[in-house]
Assembly symmetry: C2
Amino acid sequence: MRKHIVIVGGVAGGMSAATRLRRLDEEASIVVLERSGHVSFANCGLPYHLGGVIEERSALLLQTPESLAARFALDVRVHHEVVSVDRSARTVTVRDLATGTTGELPYDALVLSPGARPVLPPVPGLEVAHTLRDVEDLDRLVAATGGARSAVVVGGGFIGVEVAENLLRLGIAVTLVEAAGQVLAPLDPEMVQPLHDVLREAGVDLALGASVERVEPADGPGGEHAVHLSDGRVVPAEVVVAAVGVRPESGLAQAAGLDVGERGGILVDESFRTSDPSIFAVGDAVEKTDGLDGSAVLVPLANTANRQGRVVADVIAGRPGRDRAVLGTAVVGVLGVAAATVGWTEKRLRAAGRPHRVVHIHPGSHAGYYPGAHPLALKLLVDPATDEILGAQAVGRDGADKRIDVIATAMAGGLTASDLAELELAYAPQFGSAKDPVNMLGWVARALAAGDVETLQWHELDDALAAGATLVDVRSPQEHADRPLPGALKLPVDELRDRLAELPAGPLVVHCEVGLRGYVAARLLAQHGREVRNLDGGYRTWRAGTAAVRGAEVSARA
Amino acid sequence: MRKHIVIVGGVAGGMSAATRLRRLDEEASIVVLERSGHVSFANCGLPYHLGGVIEERSALLLQTPESLAARFALDVRVHHEVVSVDRSARTVTVRDLATGTTGELPYDALVLSPGARPVLPPVPGLEVAHTLRDVEDLDRLVAATGGARSAVVVGGGFIGVEVAENLLRLGIAVTLVEAAGQVLAPLDPEMVQPLHDVLREAGVDLALGASVERVEPADGPGGEHAVHLSDGRVVPAEVVVAAVGVRPESGLAQAAGLDVGERGGILVDESFRTSDPSIFAVGDAVEKTDGLDGSAVLVPLANTANRQGRVVADVIAGRPGRDRAVLGTAVVGVLGVAAATVGWTEKRLRAAGRPHRVVHIHPGSHAGYYPGAHPLALKLLVDPATDEILGAQAVGRDGADKRIDVIATAMAGGLTASDLAELELAYAPQFGSAKDPVNMLGWVARALAAGDVETLQWHELDDALAAGATLVDVRSPQEHADRPLPGALKLPVDELRDRLAELPAGPLVVHCEVGLRGYVAARLLAQHGREVRNLDGGYRTWRAGTAAVRGAEVSARA
């Protein structure tokens, strides 16, 4: 019997489901209903067409209803909105947005892939703000930015920083307003501090710890809105873009009586079946299962949506299909610097009260003796009891995405933090190091697990010094002079053996530039009976962390 | 009691052992004996200083005896050769190569890290050839290439192609002679064909399937040697470089009566202990354990040596220490194209009679709609019974190293080929695709495992057609005209449903450009009851494979 499958939403998850269903079932009737005017468009490319990096708008339109009909015999209807679901009759009511007429469609299986919609905070006047979800939004934003000279972007998440960067490309002065003390919430503050730096260096007015209190709309077209910030400033902006996050588009599901979770996402089982066995849901609209603690999470990512779409096609075609819980691996590029992340952050672990060990390193993206290496900041979070990898973050001009992909794969394979030391990673001097940054994370994790060294985090230093520890800078005198950490004794690691007697009694904290010489010094001192901790990540992590805190405080005070 | 540790060889494995030993044992006496004039030099950077990419020779010298004494209290003696080991007395006899005097050194633990020496084939006259193992070799080669205009490089392995590339940078005409039909033996021929192309395009005279029969030395300095090849040609060359491989430097071990394996490497247990419990060996000089079948293998790689050096330090310091078997993950850059590999090749699997499934794909290095994406050729080898990943290869201008690192990590974590489909990899359009190339490998592997599609390898096509199958090109007419595969019917995938009747009876082979439309066509045809196979990797893999075979044959015939 010919199956009737109706799919709501024709982008990542929905279209992946549709095309795979056709490959599995040549006979089925497959109708894809998309409210906007486009299907299979490159969501993640929208900000880059705004800035002209992707020159041709048509490059974003990966498929059309016609191409999908020809190749996959799909019945794709754009400008068609599903307004209700009759679960007992197994029909949906569809409105043709072009004509205003409605009709019914029967289904044997219904797949909901409506995505998530941008949140617009309830701020007076903020309705003038653009959001960036689909091609129509993009067209409006492109029109609005033509000739504009000033913009405010509200929200410093992945989309917010991408939009800010692309507005800069258009020569527009940008103020980026972020309520938290940092951009990119899926990373910790000391990791994103380099991004604060590049954004500011590029001319972005970065308002951290600030929010928009109201917007006075411009008098007319081409005029400037007055954006009132919580820090008291009034920023003029011809264009306002709101990118404060997204909310699952679960209204249709809710109206149909399907179960929806506390976070507002449609609830599905591991085969993406909703509380109605004939109805499935995938992508940004559903609640996913966290890979570490099994809790419900919202992870609006295109690759996850694609994967889920494929699985749901398998299930509908009568095959076994399930998907893993999500780790939320993600990357974003900001003015040439990549920030990548997987798993939990330190702040999330701390908030959850989950014990964790932290490792910061600053290796080169490839061998230092080969030209073109860039520093890479890497962070690893480890369960101290089990050595399980809880999360990782990487920031740098080159190689950040690679290292996070490797660690995400290690997590998927159940490798421990110590196992990272043994990974065989491809090495030639253009591509990596004989001691790859990921191996180095593993070695540090092993040293901590073995008790070879104790480390101190940047945010623990003040307390340690207040409790009487002596801080020792084991770098060269020149490095100390150039980049001092206040209050440190100077004693270069290469002179340490001969000058042990100069160190005062009591606990010591050693530090160097990135943590490596500090580790050597700590091993030496520990073997000479001293109580010593190494400042994790060295001066560089300390500086980034304290600058992040200070920046947030300054913004909050202002 | 103070331990006396003697280490033979001061580069990767030896020096990693020495420095870690000091971090674990502040009291030990640690003597490092190095025959050449340098320790801790950047082995893998040598070819790049030759070509001037690494401008300063000093950049290759990562440490000196003085710096190692200051930081790690190591007694490092360059120009010192260990000439014999007295195992019962636990002493080594050391010759000071500068003075010619010899002396004895006692040891509690002896670590052999002598590396591997370049093989010089027994070809008359080939003693004029340079090899490239250490800084002294490099200095001689730099002197010889100054002003030279012609060179022959014998051997197309990793070092051979790196040397060829760097000679080109000096404006020297290069003939690269390789006895096999392809360069880079750790990859399969169809995968390295793009490298043959770029080498030839850059002007390298690539003599595949050829060997050097004799060399008539030049009359005097600055003259040209006459290099006689097996293809009958006589190539003039001011400089000859031999890079045909390396042999473990196991003479000292052998003379001391330690067990040496069939491949000439020192035999060690998983803690790198030799047949004498006081003597350890690491690095290129030892036989390693293959990660797939547990056989003894020689894998001369710097990162492996470093890892082993650390483990041996742990063992000597009384800690548990063992290392995994090796997968041989490696990468090399050739004129901007990277070739990376892990595990076994198809030719090795075939030679061993080990069943395997092959997958070729040609995705973009990142999302196609974002500028700057390059095609990436990826190959996966899978155990058909267990779905185990047996090996992978990647070739392309960007992202090859990343994908092989991910697959190497998946192999280390015991993930199957199908598991690759579920990996969460970091996606933004500059860095990857929502459907990452590694995910795509997993999907194809799943489709093969599920029997959704049967594929045909490029080297199986002729037999299939001879047996009566019909070849169908499902690309556009223009693609067929531009890049024809001889004898194919033309029937674009998007017209297939309407034109099924045009296909002759009997088995079909479909092909497209890279295998994706072919897969869609094969699914369609199979559901319409046709016996059909998809040409794996499409036209692109077929073309590369047949060109590789033809190139090797042409060279062999010439």
